[in-house]
Symmetry: C2
Subunit: 233 residues, 2 copies
C-alpha cells in the first residue's frame, strides 16, 4: 500500500445554485489522475443543487421546523439538539441541516440523493477530462460515546463504500475477525484534515489508494445499517 | 493546510512482550521529523506491553469471560456480540479484545492506559532521535447506525485529541456552529488506509498536519463522552 497523499484543491469560487461543480473542480485541479478519489463537502453540493432554504436570520430556532420536516424518525432530543434519522437513513444531529458557510438567513439541506450527486460529478469529470476517478460527498457528523465531530461519507461513486476483507488471512495465517472496513468514511476523515473548517476549501484529492477499491459503490446501500439490525435505534 | 502524506512504516519485526516499540519504530523509520504524527496500532502496543492472555484455541467462545472481565458496563448483547464500556470509558464490541494477528490460543487485551502508552513511545523517540512528534495509538471500532469499522484513536501524546474551532469565523464571517473536531480519530482513520488489515504494517506516519495541533493532549480526557451527557448509554 505504501503511501498516499491528501491534497487540498484551492481556488474554487463561491458556489451558487445551478453551478456545475465538476466544471469548477476541473478548472481548479489541473492534475487529476485515474484512481484519484475526490472528496467534495456536502455544503458545496447542496449549494450547487439549490438545497438552500430561507430562514429568519434573527430567530436562532427558525431552522427547527426544517429539522422535523427532513427527519423520518426522531431518536433523541435534548434541549435544542435533535438526533434523527433522515430520509437517506443517516442518523445525525439536526437532520444534517447546516447554518455555517451559507448566507445569513439561509440553511443548507442535505442533497436529496447524495450517491447520485457523487455519480454526477464523477460522470461529468470523466466526460470532460477522461479520468476514471472516485468521488465521495462528505459531511460532518457527531458520534455517540465520543466527543468531537468527524467527517464521513454521505455519498460515493466509483469506489466501494466498504472494503470487504472477509476470508482473507491475517499475517499469522488465521482468518480475520474484522471483516468490513468503511473505507469511504476513512477517506472522508483523511480529507477533512486538509480542509480546515474556516476556509473555503471544499474539495480534496486523495491519491494512492488501493486500486482494488475502485468499483461501483454507494453509501446508502452499503453503509446505512438496517434499523432492524441496529442495536441503538 | 495544503497537503499531507500518509506513509506506511514497513519492516517492523514481529513484536513480542517486553519489546521496545520506540526502538523498533526508530530502526524501521529512518526519516522522522518534527510535527510528524506516528500512528501505532493497538495490537503491537498490547503485544509489547504483554497484554496477551491464553485462551482455549478450540473453543470459539473462550474469550467471552475476558470480555466480561474487561467491561465496566454492558450496553447491549445480541447473540455472541457484546457492546460494552471499558475501564477507559471506550464503548466498543467485545471490550476491544482481539483474536486476529495474535498467536493461536491467545487474545490481546487493550493497553491498560493507552494515553500513557502513546506518551512512552513519544518520549523514547524524542530521547533517541531528538524529534518532537505526536503519537496516536489506534484501534478498529464499529459504530452504531453505520456498517463497517473504522480506525479511531484510543491514546495520544504530543497532539490535542480535539481541535477546538469555537469562536473562529467561517468563510462568510459568521461564527461556526461546528466547534470541536476529533482530529486524532481522523488521523487514525487516514493511517488505516495505508495499513491494510492482512499485512504486518502496524505503524504509519502522517506528515503535514497543522502545526497548531501539536500540544499536550490525551484521548481519555478529551474524547470519552461523560456518560451523564451521553444520549445513547
Amino acid at each position: 500500500m505504501g503511501s498516499l497523499a491528501v491534497i487540498a484543491v484551492d481556488g474554487i469560487p463561491e458556489v451558487v445554485p445551478g453551478a456545475d461543480l465538476a466544471d469548477l473542480i476541473s478548472d481548479a485541479a489541473p492534475d487529476l489522475r485515474d484512481h484519484d478519489c475526490l472528496v467534495v463537502t456536502q455544503k458545496v453540493v447542496s449549494k450547487a443543487e439549490g438545497r438552500l432554504v430561507e430562514i429568519d436570520p434573527d430567530d436562532p430556532l427558525s431552522h427547527k421546523p426544517l429539522v422535523e420536516q427532513e427527519s423520518v424518525r426522531i431518536l433523541r432530543r435534548r434541549g435544542e439538539l435533535i438526533i434523527s434519522q433522515t430520509s437517506h437513513g443517516f442518523v445525525c444531529a439536526n437532520a444534517g441541516i447546516d447554518l455555517s458557510n451559507v448566507g445569513r438567513g439561509q440553511a443548507a439541506l442535505l442533497p436529496i440523493d447524495s450517491d447520485r450527486s457523487a455519480r454526477g460529478i464523477r460522470d461529468r469529470l470523466k466526460a470532460r477530462r477522461g479520468v476514471d476517478l472516485a468521488v465521495i460527498v462528505s459531511d460532518t457528523f457527531g458520534r455517540p460515546w465520543r466527543r468531537g465531530v468527524t467527517d464521513v461519507a454521505i455519498g460515493c461513486a466509483g469506489i466501494g463504500a466498504i472494503a470487504d476483507l472477509r476470508g482473507t488471512q491475517d499475517a499469522l495465517g488465521r482468518e480475520l475477525q474484522v471483516t468490513e472496513v468503511a473505507i469511504v468514511d476513512e477517506i472522508a476523515a483523511a480529507a477533512d484534515l486538509v480542509m480546515g473548517k474556516s476556509t473555503n476549501t471544499a474539495v480534496a484529492i486523495v491519491r494512492g489508494l488501493n486500486p482494488d477499491w475502485f468499483r461501483r459503490g454507494n453509501v446508502v446501500g452499503e453503509i446505512v445499517r438496517d434499523p432492524a439490525e441496529d442495536l441503538f435505534r
